[in-house]
């Protein structure tokens, strides 16, 4: 029964592990977001063939490379596998926090990044995981508010949640953008490095010194307090143990003191009893030392580890 239970537990653990590994795989794709779309393109960027068409920009929100090969992009919720992004194309690997652009020109024969539908006739765009069932991200196209050659996208790349980081709020995180920005971020020029931003508020490094020293002190003060108390507790425990041991040894001493005589009396009585009954062996008082034989083995022979003494040949 116990064996069965152990086996069951093992199987359960294995299935949890397998499920979690599968989740991890899916997690990568779940980091992809539809980031920006241009529905009607008559005077904006052109593709490699010199054609103007609508486009969809995807964004990798994670800090790891995600391969979207095998995933699907569709404009039909009833047909989630409408366009499969071909596998094996190195360009389908989106680097951390980078973008990928798909032209919605109904010309999939032109390459990996050309979809088999147009956006002007689509109501919704969906990005579907490689299992063909899991919808990773979707966005309805508000045709009424998007003018020609103007894109609709997230104000901040990949972000569609409010400040609480839980509530999804499309109305306030998506909108008509001031400029189209295929394959680049949606909020303008590249951000200034954090160090430069920090320097603006702290040109002399005083805030940094104060903040950082406070954090270093805080970390080590917490560690100090924890180990001060652990130390105290440990000393207390050791004292208790020592006291207990001392009390225990006292008890043993008393026991030894009283019992030694008793044991001696019992031993004497037993000895006398066996002597009277000739129960003792007669010992011959001869000590025999037996020779221990060691078989010779060249593996342990000393002569093989020594150098031969040099001698003069005559």
């Amino acid at each position: 029964m116990k064996k069965m239970m152990k086996k069951g537990l093992l199987i359960l653990l294995l299935s949890i592990f397998v499920a979690s590994v599968q989740d991890l795989g899916a997690q990568n794709m779940s980091d992809i977001r539809i980031n920006e779309i241009l529905v009607i393109n008559t005077d904006d960027f052109t593709d490699d063939y010199g054609n103007k068409s609508g486009w969809i920009e995807l964004f990798n929100t994670s800090y790891g490379t995600v391969d979207i090969g095998g995933c699907y992009i569709t404009n039909d919720p009833e047909n989630l596998t409408k366009y499969m992004i071909p596998r094996g194309d190195v360009l389908t690997k989106i680097k951390p926090r980078q973008h990928s652009l798909f032209w919605a020109d109904s010309k999939p024969h032109r390459g990996t990044f050309h979809l088999n539908f147009n956006l002007d006739e689509s109501k919704e765009i969906l990005f579907v995981s490689s299992d063909g069932r899991t919808i990773v991200d979707r966005i309805e196209i508000p045709h009424g508010i998007i003018p020609e050659n103007v894109s609709y996208g997230r104000f901040k790349d990949g972000v569609s949640v409010m400040a609480d980081k839980k509530t999804v709020d499309i109305a306030n995180t998506w909108g008509v953008l001031e400029r189209t920005s295929p394959s680049t971020n949606n909020f303008g020029a590249d951000k200034e490095p954090p160090g430069m931003l920090f320097m603006k508020i702290d040109p002399y490094g005083i805030i940094m010194a104060f903040t950082a020293m406070s954090v270093v002190f805080l970390s080590l003060i917490i560690l100090y307090l924890v180990f001060k108390h652990i130390g105290k507790y440990n000393i207390k425990i050791s004292r208790k143990r020592a006291e207990k041991a001392a009390a225990g040894s006292k008890h043993i001493v008393t026991e030894e003191e009283t019992s030694a005589e008793v044991f001696a009396a019992i031993s004497m009585a037993l000895h006398a009893f066996y002597e009277d009954n000739d129960a003792h062996d007669v010992e011959n008082t001869i000590l025999t030392i037996q020779k221990v034989t060691r078989n010779y083995s060249p593996w342990s022979s000393k002569i093989y580890t020594l150098r031969e003494r040099p001698f003069k040949s005559r």
Binding site: G195, M196, G205, M208, A209, M213, V216, L223
Partner: protein
């Protein structure tokens, strides 16, 4: 006619060959850097200054400054060359955490656990980092560069390499060489500052003998230490994680083989690789700039600030301690994480004034706290500036 052709072919080949030799491509910068490398080797062998670091770095400097004909795919900055592949550990920053693993596996934190208030000295000495950061900002360095330079004050080579590879990769060679040079110079830099900032009476303070630390406390230290520091500064994770992991291997008592590997062959291999590749990275054209001179000056400043901050902190701390519990301010210098050199300096200076006053074990407390402190400080700088 044919003979002449063969002769001209030979001379042409010789000329081409000469173009490839170091003699044809040498510049005064290369010669100067080779001399610096040889000086490092001399100091290591003759003066016994940090030989385990200065020999690999010194020889690395010599290797890195052999004048090369560009495009031979042998230089440290030429992609795909052997040296470049070895240099990836520095560039991507995976050597320093491995060194921290070894440090953790060889460090005994008992001195710190038995007297945890010594941790605060390790925190105080980190002021050198942020003092140097402020001075570097004033000297016109960009904030990320200033942060990378400031970490020299932590007196921790691997941390300096780790941080500079993230914040200022261009300055990494100068920062690493500066950090290791000053670490080797700890016995020269620190004693005058310690003497200057303490009175004779203070130098004679005898500290209470540390209590015996139980094995359970030793086992708990890396676990609790890691959880607390990593939760406060997650950006220091690679260094803190490896440091405490290494220590757990040592103290758990059941992973002796792993601990021995971490503190033996592993740390030796990585020290060789980090030393020689950091040395190689100091190619004259990249290294010989005014910025490097400033970095060396700021590095010296940061060491002075760190040592002073540690000593002064102990003096201030003593005002709140009872007579029997006072700390000898000579151990304040060991708040920098040059383990165990700065602790040895505390001990030697202490013995100069009282031949019976052995401060080594007391100084090891702030010394190992300094390792934790500098890793935390690096995490903070990384969090703010990267």
């Amino acid at each position: 006619m044919e003979n002449k052709g063969v002769f001209s072919l030979l001379t042409d080949n010789l000329e081409t060959f000469l173009q490839y030799t170091g003699f044809a491509n040498a510049t005064p910068g290369h010669i100067l850097m080779i001399l610096i490398g040889l000086l490092f080797i001399y100091l290591a062998i003759k003066k016994d200054w940090e030989p385990l670091l200065l020999i690999p770095i010194g020889f690395g400097i010599v290797i890195g400054n052999i004048p090369l004909f560009p495009g031979l795919s042998v230089g440290v900055y030429e992609e795909g060359s052997v040296l470049n592949i070895l240099y990836q550990g520095v560039q991507k920053g995976f050597y320093p955490p491995l060194i921290f693993l070894g440090i953790g596996a060889m460090t005994d934190f008992s001195a710190l656990i038995s007297n945890p208030k010594l941790m605060l000295i390790g925190a105080a000495a980190q002021f050198g980092i942020f003092g140097a950061y402020a001075i570097a900002l004033a000297a016109g360095f960009a904030p990320a560069e200033a942060g990378a330079i400031g970490i020299i004050g932590g007196a921790d080579g691997p941390t300096a390499i780790f941080l500079s590879s993230r914040l200022a990769p261009d300055l990494m060679g100068a920062i690493a060489v500066s950090a290791y040079s000053y670490m080797a110079l700890v016995p020269v830099i620190q004693p005058p500052i310690m003497r200057l900032l303490t009175t004779k009476q203070e130098r004679l303070i005898k500290m209470k003998a540390p209590r015996a630390v139980s094995q359970t406390e030793k086992k708990l230290f890396p676990i609790i230490g890691f959880l607390l520091t990593a939760f406060i500064v997650p950006s220091g994770l690679p260094l803190l994680g490896m440091l405490f992991f290494g220590n757990l291997l040592k103290e758990s008592g059941v992973t002796r083989r792993l601990a021995e590997t971490a503190r033996g062959p592993l740390i030796d291999i990585v020290t060789i690789l980090i030393g020689v590749t950091v040395g190689c990275s100091t190619q004259a054209d990249k290294f010989l700039q005014m910025k490097s001179v400033y970095i060396f000056m700021l590095g010296a400043g940061s060491f002075v600030i760190a040592t002073s901050a540690g000593v002064l902190f102990v003096k201030a701390f003593n005002m709140f301690l009872k007579d029997g519990n006072k700390i000898n301010p000579l151990i304040g210098n060991s708040g920098v994480s040059a383990v165990p050199d700065s602790a040895r300096v505390s001990n030697n200076v202490g013995l100069e004034y009282d031949r019976t006053n052995y401060l080594l074990m007391h100084a090891m407390g702030p010394n190992v706290a300094g390792v934790i402190g500098s890793a935390v400080a690096a995490g903070i700088l990384l969090g703010f500036l990267s």
